[in-house]
């Protein structure tokens, strides 16, 4: 297995080995995804298009938002997503 999807609602999957740009990988639902960039072990790849401002979902839960439109097959990391985490100690 090259990629793992941790929840059916996720829009990213995690590389289980170092993957190369141009490589075709099979998703858990049987779809074939062509990688647009190298994806290192442990890193995330978009399994469908993610719009700017849309939540990035892993474990079925938001882990931040896209800072620009992301295409399926792109590496999802600090260059195109950001944390939504704001601590509000007054609450």
């Amino acid at each position: 297995m090259q990629l793992i999807s941790l929840h059916p609602n996720d829009n990213v999957a995690v590389a289980l080995c170092d993957l190369k740009a141009g490589q075709e990988v099979t998703l858990s639902d049987g779809r074939i995804l062509t990688l647009l960039e190298d994806i290192d072990f442990g890193h995330k790849v978009a399994v469908r298009a993610i719009k700017q401002g849309e939540k990035v979902l892993k474990y079925g839960l938001p882990i931040g938002s896209a800072t620009r439109d992301i295409e399926a097959g792109e590496h999802v990391h600090i260059q195109n997503m950001k944390s939504d985490y704001i601590w509000r100690p007054d609450r």
Partner: protein
């Protein structure tokens, strides 16, 4: 599953005698007593508290451990001048119906007399401890904890979510489950609040994460490192979710402090971060300290997820090692009970690993030794802390 029923009606999955020292000065005597009496038929485990200054937290944890359902008898070894409340501990153990003996080295006349007296005390209590009645165990009799240690990039995608699935199944079957470490859940507070059984519980869960955030900042412990980003983690909430995955998805019945026994079955979170000023050092100096707190709150066994490969076990309660990384599993296979790395190497599903884990818990509860138990691991650590909440 078959276990042991104690006079206080608590049910254990092991039947051990504990020798505990109440200050480092009494460590050697206690260790000799345990070493000379330990046997396969009746294991004698060594635990203890090293400090001389008094600490209500350590006192309570020790009282809980000495009346743990897996414990049938206790030999307390005191030097004599330390501040630990030895007579209170003795009374608590006696009141629970367990066999108990107190050795005060300064009163006995030194090392050798104290060791002999301790060995005799264990010989005297052995028949009673061995005669403890057996009883059928059901899931609702069991309390299961989880901790993670030596995590890696695999932990959040294999072992931790597999433990989460297992917790869901255990809670559904009526067991009690405890997860912990607010410091590793920073960013998950809003979700935790949603999962509280009541609004009040939800708010407590939320507030304890805030307390952890403040405490760790004072310790100079940053929550998100460059190494995390290199490993593929992008945000703090993503990192915490890897740890959070161990908690599964069920409603959280309450927040407990270490040593507090969950008042009902179901899922609980443990707040391991001391209350008040950050003056007690790191909330948990090692994974072993976390396991000790889990046991003090009644855990019969602890699911320990590891990626880098911890070999530690524990005194009193068996530890089930769930390895997240298939390469680590191959490398340290003698120390690992479950290979959650099969999710990566063989495409196993989380459900398959959860099934394996449930089967393993059942066998361990029924007496089968875990890897760390069979290898003789009996790590133990208890330090100083302070909690205001009762």
């Amino acid at each position: 599953m078959t276990g042991y029923i104690r006079k206080d009606n608590r049910k254990g999955i092991r039947n051990v005698i504990v020798v505990t020292y109440l200050v480092e000065c009494a460590h050697h005597v206690a260790e000799q007593i345990a070493r000379q009496t330990d046997s396969e038929a009746l294991p004698v485990h060594l635990i203890g508290f090293g400090g001389c200054a008094p600490n209500a937290y350590a006192q309570e944890i020790m009282e809980r451990l000495c009346t743990h359902p897996n414990v049938g008898g206790v030999v307390i070894v005191s030097l004599g001048c330390e501040n630990f409340l030895r007579n209170q501990l003795l009374e608590v153990v006696k009141e629970s119906g367990r066999e108990a003996a107190l050795i005060v080295i300064q009163e006995e006349g030194g090392t050798q007399c104290s060791i002999s007296k301790g060995v005799e005390a264990i010989k005297a209590m052995t028949p009673t401890v061995q005669a403890v009645p057996k009883v059928e165990l059901h899931w609702q009799d069991l309390c299961i904890g989880t901790v993670c240690g030596g995590s890696d990039a695999c932990s959040g995608i294999t072992a931790n979510p597999a433990v989460g699935r297992t917790f869901d199944r255990l809670v559904d079957a009526g067991a009690t489950c405890i997860f912990e470490e607010p410091g590793e859940l920073i960013g998950c507070e809003a979700m935790l609040r949603e999962r509280g059984a009541t609004k009040e519980v939800g708010q407590q869960l939320y507030d304890c994460i805030h307390k952890a955030d403040v405490y760790y900042k004072k310790m100079g412990h940053d929550s998100f490192s460059q190494g995390n980003a290199e490993g593929g983690l992008t945000t703090i909430e993503e990192k915490s979710l890897g740890s959070y995955a161990k908690s599964g998805s069920r409603m959280i019945n309450g927040l407990i402090r270490p040593g507090e026994i969950p008042p009902t079955n179901g899922l609980y979170m443990m707040d391991v971060v001391p209350d008040g000023e950050a003056r007690w050092g790191f909330p948990n100096v090692s994974d072993t300290a976390e396991i000790v707190e889990m046991m003090a709150s009644g855990c019969h066994t602890v699911l320990y997820t590891t990626g880098r490969g911890s070999v530690a076990g524990s005194a009193i309660a068996p530890v089930i090692k769930v390895c997240s990384n298939p390469i680590t599993f191959e490398h340290l296979s003698e120390d690992m009970d479950i290979n959650a790395g099969r999710i990566i190497s063989e495409g196993a599903t989380l459900e398959e690993i959860a099934n394996e884990l449930l089967k393993c818990i059942e066998q361990v509860a029924d007496g089968q030794m875990t890897r760390s138990e069979a290898l003789g691991h009996r790590e133990f650590f208890l330090g100083y802390k302070e909690f205001c909440r009762k």
